[in-house]
């Protein structure tokens, strides 16, 4: 029961806007911090007083139940007070601009703003404008950093390390902020990243480190240890990028046949939820012992607690230039 001396602390930031601006050291620090937070969930009192007296505002311009609830539980387990503001109930529909809304919130002395918006870059704008710590909870096709952190935490928990491990991200890569954040995070942590999906949904000019494949079978020959199935965002696509859901499942989904091979090889399956049954995956996948999907949900709370604990409202955020020097 010998303890190591306190490791040198990683400095706090004001905001968490994307994964790109985090160093591997900072990501690892957050994953280490999430571990003791998860252990709290087994206590009779699942709450610690670290953020007592602080206020967290969930500012959601786009519908979300899971992410919002996850942030809310995370904040409450740190003893912060939480207010939820959903767009349909707010004055945004009455014509107030985003920054006006934030100004109004600022008068209420909010310490942390959790922002989800349909347009990329809105959280960054708010962060520049507000002394509160801003956490991006998903902005357009840009980023969803806490999703990537909870996924990395889940992978580490399941596999122990990242170095040289292979993750295959499958589905609608083009529209997915999850794919963008998860792939950048995995790459920073030393994983090999493969992407697979309908050619119309693979972005042109993706980074060189991505491995690409022309069929699911071809991708499985690459021997990934984790398959990350993306949610087909049926509500978001106006254009038709593939012929039909049935065909999508046959060509790009986790069919029964593919699942047989996957379970034989013991490949982990992840999904950011909520799943479209029969589209990205079949029912069997949900009860598969190496499906990490439910664990992702549980770990989301711990990872978001680590983020809330790490960020410090009011401190100046390092600019990109300063960051490059260090």
């Amino acid at each position: 029961m010998i303890t190591e001396p306190n490791p040198s602390p990683v400095h706090s930031r004001k905001d968490l806007l994307d994964i790109e601006s985090l160093s591997a050291e900072e990501i690892n620090h957050l994953l280490e911090t999430a571990k003791p937070f998860k252990e709290l969930f087994t206590r009779s009192v699942k709450k610690v007083p670290a953020l007592r007296g602080k206020t967290v505002l969930n500012l959601f311009f786009e519908p979300s139940t899971r992410t919002r609830a996850s942030f809310e539980i995370a904040a409450k387990r740190l003893s912060a007070d939480v207010t939820n503001l959903a767009v349909s109930q707010s004055s945004v529909v009455k014509g107030e601009s985003v920054l006006d809304t934030v100004d109004t919130m600022q008068s209420m002395k909010v310490d942390y703003l959790v922002v989800r918006h349909g347009a990329a870059g809105i959280p960054n704008q708010i962060a520049k404008h507000s002394p509160a710590s801003v956490i991006n909870a998903g902005d357009g096709n840009h980023a969803h950093p806490t999703q990537a952190l909870l996924d990395a935490f889940t992978i580490k928990e399941a596999m122990g390390d990242f170095s040289g491990r292979k993750i295959l991200i499958a589905g609608d890569i083009l529209h997915s902020r999850v794919a963008r954040s998860v792939s950048i995070c995995a790459n920073k942590l030393g994983m090999e990243v493969g992407i697979f999906g309908p050619p119309t949904l693979i972005p042109h000019g993706h980074p060189d480190y991505f491995h690409t494949f022309n069929s699911f079978e071809h991708a499985l020959e690459w021997e990934p240890e984790v398959i990350y199935l993306l949610r087909l965002q049926l509500e978001r696509q106006s254009a038709h990028f593939f012929p039909s859901l049935r065909e999508y499942h046959q060509v790009f989904g986790m069919t029964r046949e593919r699942f047989e091979l996957v379970s034989r090889k013991g490949i982990y399956i992840m999904h950011p939820g909520p799943v479209n049954r029969g589209v990205e995956l079949t029912d069997e996948v949900l009860t598969y012992d190496r499906s990490l999907i439910n664990r992702q949900v549980e770990n989301g709370i711990a990872a978001r607690m680590a983020v809330l604990y790490w960020l410090q409202p009011g401190i100046p955020s390092p600019t990109i230039e300063e960051k490059a020097e260090t």
Partner: protein, 183 residues
């Protein structure tokens, strides 16, 4: 370490520490002869102190549980610290409800660490009793807390630092007062 040589005075030698730990151990055995107790060390050096007392006491007793406590999330000064302390987590692998707990820390100073530790313990359950064992009590209390088992008591000024060094993590053994240097 600053350029100007800090003034360092030895308060307890290796042999003194050993004697103090022996005395704390026998007091605990005497007082708790008839019931199981749990030793809980506060990170970092309280954990080592608890371990050392455990090593002695467990020669006579087999019913002692061990745990560790990380009070970072219960501190009352998180807002005033330059950096956020890293958390190592607490580990209490026994039922706190109804238990007799002895808390261990290396130095007792303002008492705020112990206050935080008590809050955290209560969140795990309702212990029957909590006692406190410290190697050094340096005075200057800011909350009404006092030790049940004490190695060495002394008066210090707030400007001084009391440095406890244990072989396990510091590579040397001794208790020092230091002016002009922090760990």
């Amino acid at each position: 370490m600053t350029n100007s040589e800090p003034l360092r005075t030895e308060v307890l030698s290796r042999k003194d520490i050993d004697n103090k730990i022996r005395r704390i151990s026998s007091e605990i055995i005497e007082k708790h002869s008839d019931r199981p107790v749990a030793f809980v060390g506060i990170h970092t050096r309280g954990v080592i102190l608890a371990q050392r007392v455990f090593d002695r006491v467990s020669r006579h007793r087999t019913d002692i549980s061990q745990g560790t406590l990380d009070i970072a999330l219960y501190r009352d000064d998180l807002d005033n610290l330059g950096t956020i302390p890293s958390i190592r987590g607490s580990d209490l692998p026994f039922s706190v409800e109804g238990s007799h707990i002895i808390l261990f820390d290396d130095v007792l100073f303002t008492g705020r660490t112990i206050r935080a530790a008590l809050d955290e313990l209560m969140d795990y359950g309702r212990p029957a009793r909590i006692e406190l064992a410290v190697l050094v009590d340096r005075g200057n209390r800011e909350v009404p807390i006092c030790p049940d088992y004490l190695g060495h008591g002394m008066n210090t000024s707030k400007a001084e630092h009391v440095l406890v060094c244990f072989d396990e993590i510091d590579g040397k053994e001794g208790v020092y007062t230091v002016i002009g240097e922090t760990r």
